[in-house]
Amino acid sequence: MARITLDSLAHSYSAAPKGDADWALKPMSLTWRDGGAYALLGSSGCGKTTLLNIISGLLRPSRGRVLFGDRDVTDLPTTDRNIAQVFQFPVVYDTMTVRQNLAFPLKNRGLPAAQIAARVDAVARMIGMVDTLDRRARGLTADAKQKISLGRGMVRQDVNAILFDEPLTVIDPQMKWELRTQLKALHREFGHTMIYVTHDQTEALTFADEVVVMSEGRVLQAGTPQSLFDAPAHTFVGYFIGSPGMNLLDAQVQGATALVAGTAIPLAAPYAAPKGRVQIGIRPDAARPAAEGLPFRLLRTEDVGHHRILRGEIAGAPFNMVVPEDEPIPAGFDRVALDPARIGVFVDDWRIEPAERAA
């Protein structure tokens, strides 16, 4: 097990990259501590798979270094990096039994039979497959197969990291709950460093201690789920995290007041007069129907069970609100009040801090 350091990494698939667009992965540095749970989150084509392939050794980065502990592994092939990986679609050896599948990585490394048996039993118990150990893998369901892949990843005690590449894609929603809890328990039990790649915010946020949000090859923000939710560094993070995403309204900010479509909104703190395109961002659950405030036009109400989503517009821009199921919605309301403490100010898409805190 080891700390993982990504030192000014960048990657381009073309031999002679020219413009910004040629870089699949733009320069970035990150350090992940030993035994942590990390997630790479972004939509398809954002560079997260490129980054994963660099860590696993499938790709050699055009620039920068990868370190496991203090050892530079940039030029080491996958086999010598001592990592495990779980793929999007279950990769199992169809002709082997579940037991043989789990034992395979240990057998290849020449461990004594008794040690292999003990380890396989422990992992089988963790993934709940003790009863199916002697079944052939071929006939099993997709989620059972994915559990085997998971188990094969866990079975080695000495791996530097376990990489997950959208491992729950083919799993039914009900099963996802079980597998996610199992993954959490496995992490707690075995303490491996885990890196989880996904486009699904729920999976990323629930799994990781720290989530790295990526877009167009760039790391926009790396932080705890809470900080990504409460203080997104970029409007894309605000949009990408949360469902529905953060609302953005064009505004003029003067001191501790924001002016949106002629209506003054109080902010929690004063801001130094920002230049560029200024927007305020607010989470759908931090806005409430009110008697006064911003003029709001309601378009649709969606009942999602334990809350409702009100979809509408403010000054022509889409604006969503989330109202808990037991809270009444006043009939015919047309104003919205925002919680000042939860308003963020963005200039040219990047979040800025209030004046005195920045000073």
């Binding site: 939509s43 398809s44 084509g45 997709a142 039914d172 929603p173 009900q174 709950w177 996610r180 809890t181 959490k184 328990a185 707690r188 486009h199 699904d200 915010q201 729920t202 946020l205 629930t206 799994f207 705890t224 789920p225 809470q226 990504l228 939710f229 409460d230 949009y239 990408f240 995290i241 949360g242 469902s243 529905p244 995403g245 989470r283 659950d285 649709r300 969606e302 009942d303 999602v304 069970g305 334990h306 989503i309 979809r311 199921e325 037991d326």
Partner: protein
């Protein structure tokens, strides 16, 4: 335009894929088929489309028997989980293809293609080829092709399953709008309860080849007719606990509350958001053990063990709690459903009756 299924069933190689099913879809309605993988959603859709023949039963389209009529002769459109387009044709030609087969005048085709493309927000992409588009755009093209011919019945088989989370969220919000503009009967298969709720309309819950309930979506969500339906229509899955009712009072973990059902054994069911960490009104204290917590940024999922039962709770805010420790959670008895020994709903949650 209505579609009616009367006693329709399907058996393949001695295995029942669909038990006898009655279903009546009203004109211009949105109907969601909700159930896990291989619960019979696709089987049901293929029967509706006429791609397969039912083993028994009749299928009526506007009161007319169409069982056994070829799919080509029915006014049906279908969209699949995979993005199926003609790769060598432009988006324009893809959308126009079903109309060209119907030998419609060129000018008419053009206006209909452009109108549909506008509705699907594909106008700037009309001259691209499908492989140059993102997944969401490819699926929108497939949807446009399904809608352009003005089919009376549009079948969508998990159309968003292969899309990224955020794209899915966006298209999900668009589909009700598209549906309202089309006037057709929509049938939409999904595995996700949240998707069913967002689409609204009517829902048929499926479990092991059986339609367990059919009704307006919020109503089925709030008053599931049995425990199976409640399980299918809850994400996180509904929490269950076997309890006893004596003298008009239910008992769970020593706490008692009065219920209007006869004495006997029941299964209490309640959803994740109704478990709280703070004591509220009519709240029952439950002594559980915390297995793990998951933080989503705004909320925290609690994975609990209560005796042999696994529960999931969803509480607002970020809660850092020690895993493996005992934890008392509170449950408002107004949110508890009671199911009898056969699994039928004996008493809906009082709070859902108010809603």
């Amino acid at each position: 335009m209505t579609l009616e299924l009367r006693g329709v069933s399907k058996e393949v190689a001695g295995q029942i894929w669909l038990h006898p099913t009655d279903l009546a879809l009203a004109a211009g309605s949105m109907n969601v088929l909700l159930g896990p993988t291989s619960s019979g959603k696709t089987t049901l859709m293929r029967l509706m489309a006429g791609l397969d023949q039912p083993g028994t039963g009749r299928i009526l389209w506007q009161g007319q028997d169409v069982t056994g009529r070829r799919v080509q002769d029915r006014r049906v459109a279908m969209v699949y989980q995979q993005f199926i387009n003609y790769p060598s044709m432009t988006v324009y030609d893809n959308i126009a293809s079903p109309l060209r087969l119907q030998r419609i005048a060129r000018a008419e085709i053009d206006s209909r293609v452009r109108r549909t493309a506008e509705m699907m927000r594909l106008t700037p992409l009309l001259h691209r080829r499908p492989l140059e588009l993102s997944g969401g755009q490819q699926q929108r093209t497939a949807l446009a092709r399904a809608l352009v011919k003005g089919a009376g019945l549009v079948l969508l088989d998990e159309p968003l399953a292969n899309l990224d989370y955020k794209l899915r969220e966006e298209l999900r919000a668009e589909i009700p709008r598209i549906f309202e503009a089309s006037g057709a009967i929509f049938v939409y298969a999904t595995t996700e309860p949240e998707e069913a709720l967002l689409l609204g309309g009517h829902v048929a819950t499926l479990w092991e080849g059986r339609v367990t309930q059919f009704g307006p979506t919020p109503q089925v969500y709030r008053a599931p007719c049995d425990a199976v339906t409640a399980r299918v229509f809850s994400d996180p899955p509904m929490n269950f606990k076997a309890i006893r009712v004596t003298g008009g009072e239910a008992e769970l973990d020593g706490a008692r509350w009065s219920v209007d059902v006869g004495d006997g054994r029941y299964t209490a069911g309640f959803r994740a958001p109704h478990l709280t960490l703070e004591q509220g009104r009519r709240a029952l204290p439950l002594k559980a053990r915390l297995d793990a917590t998951e933080i989503t940024g705004a909320e925290t999922y609690l994975h609990l063990l209560h005796g042999q039962d696994r529960w999931v709770g969803l509480v607002p805010g970020v809660r850092k709690l020690p895993a493996g420790a005992p934890l008392t959670v509170w449950l408002d008895s107004a949110h508890v459903y009671l199911f009898d020994e056969a699994g039928r709903l004996a008493r809906p949650a009082p709070s859902s009756r108010a809603a």
